[in-house]
């Protein structure tokens, strides 16, 4: 009984702040406080007309998409090699790839800033952020993809090659469909990590900020807080939709491959 109360309290504590987002996003007041003063969609209208916010969102989406795809491709290569091949210094190499998982982002951010600006003498742009995001997303992708590849019988690809396919088409025809659920999960996680990453983006963004950096800038003006709330509402709705799609795809993939369902996002 007490455990049940604890569980309920835990969930409320976890999700109540998120529920506040849509409430204040539709509240007709610039001050975030109860009681609510009325219903309005003004904040969303303002959101729709804010050009610099649009630019920031566009930046973030572009960075997140490129980072997700790149780190997933790198993750697929690393997980496949880790699961199917034996080679020298494998444990050491894997350890180094996974290291950014525990490396403080501030350190990654500062050292990359030094490398890019001082040593390479390059300007800061979306691409510098992408490089850093790929670095921090890849370990997550590998962690997710390892599961997919470890369940895979290495004889599958060999069987396809034995039946006349080249190494690459064996991968494409057999391995890829079987690990697709893992790839989708991996892209989704990497996308999410990159989308809301602040520290690295703050240090490495050039003239045009990413969305988290832009929001951080907005917080200095109390009047624009409801706009941030509206933006947050849209983001929450978007993540729920994305996660649902990913989970549906994952389940369909599992059912098709006849693998027992062992958890997932939802």
């Amino acid at each position: 009984m007490s455990l049940r109360i604890y569980a309920i309290a835990y969930l409320i504590f976890l999700y109540a702040p998120i529920v506040l987002l849509p409430i204040f996003a539709f509240n007709d007041a610039t001050i975030i406080a109860f009681p609510l003063s009325g219903f309005t969609t003004d904040w969303f209208t303002e959101l729709a007309s804010n050009k610099s916010l649009h630019a920031a969102v566009k930046n973030s989406l572009f960075i997140a998409l490129v980072s997700a795809v790149t780190s997933t491709i790198l993750g697929v290569c690393a997980s496949r090699a880790g699961a199917m091949h034996r080679f020298r210094f494998k444990a050491g190499i894997m350890g180094f790839i996974m290291l950014p998982l525990v490396l403080p982002e501030i350190i990654v951010a500062v050292s990359l800033l030094v490398v890019v600006v001082q040593i390479l003498d390059l300007g800061l742009s979306n691409w510098t952020i992408i490089a850093a995001h790929v670095l921090i997303c890849t370990p997550f992708c590998i962690a997710i993809l390892n599961g997919a590849f470890q369940n895979l019988d290495p004889a599958m690809e060999e069987a396809a090659m034995d039946l006349g396919e080249s190494r690459f088409s064996a991968f494409r025809l057999v391995t890829l469909p079987l690990v697709m659920p893992g790839i989708i999960s991996s892209m989704l996680i990497a996308f999410t990590i990159s989308l809301d990453e602040f520290i690295i983006a703050f240090f490495l963004s050039g003239s045009s900020p990413t969305m988290p950096v832009y929001i951080w800038g907005l917080l200095r003006f109390p009047a624009s807080l409801p706009v941030v709330m509206a933006l947050g509402t849209i983001l929450v709705a978007l993540s729920i939709v994305l996660l649902t799609i990913a989970e549906l795809l994952r389940r369909r993939g599992l059912a098709r491959a006849g693998v027992k369902d062992e958890g997932g996002f939802l």
Binding site: D153, A155, M156, A159, D162, L163, A170, L178, G258
Partner: protein, 361 residues
């Protein structure tokens, strides 16, 4: 008989580990050939070398008169049935079987469908084409793997422990079916197995492997009756080993076997390089006998005492202690009508015959 596969001086190293040691082997067209040995003996490595999944460190692999050194697995005239079957779970049974036909662009769809149905019929899975591959039982997966490999009409079918995942009854049924299938298609089968009975039942010839080497290469009967070494003899079936001393070698061999005394055996019961000196003699449990009351024999007899009795229903295995023999002799007796099962400690007489003796390296 024409040679289909020739291995000449094949060696394989993994870093410091010598997995295949100077393998020289010829496998004939249409033959059912088995690679038999304990786990880690290199039999699977040898099979994978023929399939093209492992490169040789040294030596030549020829298939159909062509050097396979630069031919990758997908271009070799071999197909394989994997130990795990490696059925593609995301495809249907028919799509699995048709997988190898993807590269045959000259075949139209109806022809391919007909070939798939024929292949499935051949392995006893007619009408299973639309089923999802992951919903099949172990025996059915095995059949799909066979159909998938045979549809390409390879010169050689490689089978890597194909029956090890099946239960005993299913395994015996598949053994018979594999023999029938091999005769029907006339393709060379190379079977890797650690199960000596399976190899004896199915093969035309067997290569017994130990530690990367071929210990003996012979047909099942020769292998069983005339093993050339102690390790082959103890790996295949049961064998009693007795210390012996070779006294003279001529047309016949004079040898003294402990407990059995001096005797003469023919040259074919000994290895070719036999010489005067200490040796080991082997004798199979079923070629020895126990003289029960009321039975007679014109063969030789030696006194013994029953040391251990294991009752199998149709057979009883006795360990009988004989004066002058270090280890008790293991004797297999059929439980025929009127034969009692002897008790431990019973005095008995052991029937033996020097014709069933073999001298071992």
């Amino acid at each position: 008989m024409t040679a289909l596969i020739t291995l000449t001086g094949v060696n394989k190293y993994y870093a410091d580990y010598h997995a295949l040691r100077d393998i020289n082997l010829t496998i004939n067209a249409g033959e059912f050939f088995s690679l038999l040995g304990p786990s880690g003996c290199g039999k699977t490595t040898l099979l994978r070398t023929i399939a093209g999944f492992e490169s040789v460190s040294d030596g030549v692999v020829m298939i159909g008169g062509k050097d396979m050194a630069d031919v990758p697995a997908n271009l070799r005239p071999t197909n394989m049935v994997f130990q795990s079957y490696a059925i593609f779970p995301h495809l249907t049974v028919a799509e699995n079987v048709a997988f190898g036909l993807r590269k045959s662009k000259d075949l139209d769809k109806p022809t391919k469908a007909k070939m798939v149905e024929e292949a499935l019929t051949m392995v006893g899975l007619a009408g299973y084409g639309k089923r999802a591959a992951h919903a099949l039982s172990g025996g059915q997966r095995q059949r799909v793997a066979l159909a998938r490999a045979l549809i390409l009409k390879p010169k050689v079918l490689l089978l890597d422990e194909p029956l090890s995942a099946l239960d005993k009854k299913m395994r015996e049924q598949m053994q018979v079916e594999l023999i029938r299938l091999q005769r029907q298609v006339g393709i060379t089968f190379i079977l890797v197995t650690h199960d000596q009975e399976e190899a004896l039942v199915m093969s035309d010839r067997i290569a017994v492997m130990f530690e990367g080497e071929i210990g003996q290469l012979a047909d099942p009967e020769t292998l069983y009756r005339r093993p050339n070494s102690r390790r082959v003899a103890s790996f295949i079936g049961k064998m009693n080993f007795l210390d012996a001393e070779v006294k003279a070698v001529s047309e016949e061999i004079d040898v003294t076997v402990q407990g059995l005394g001096p005797l003469k055996i023919s040259a074919e019961q000994a290895p070719e390089e036999v010489s005067v000196g200490p040796a080991v003699a082997g004798i199979r449990p079923e070629t020895l006998g126990i003289l029960f009351e009321g039975e007679t024999t014109d063969r030789k007899l030696v006194d013994g005492v029953v040391d251990e009795v294991v009752y199998y229903g149709d057979m009883t295995y006795y360990d009988v202690r004989v004066d002058g023999v270090a280890q008790p002799l293991n004797i297999a007796m059929k439980n025929l009508i009127g034969r009692p099962v002897l008790d431990v400690g019973a005095k008995t007489r052991v029937i033996w015959d020097e014709r069933s003796l073999v001298l071992l390296k």
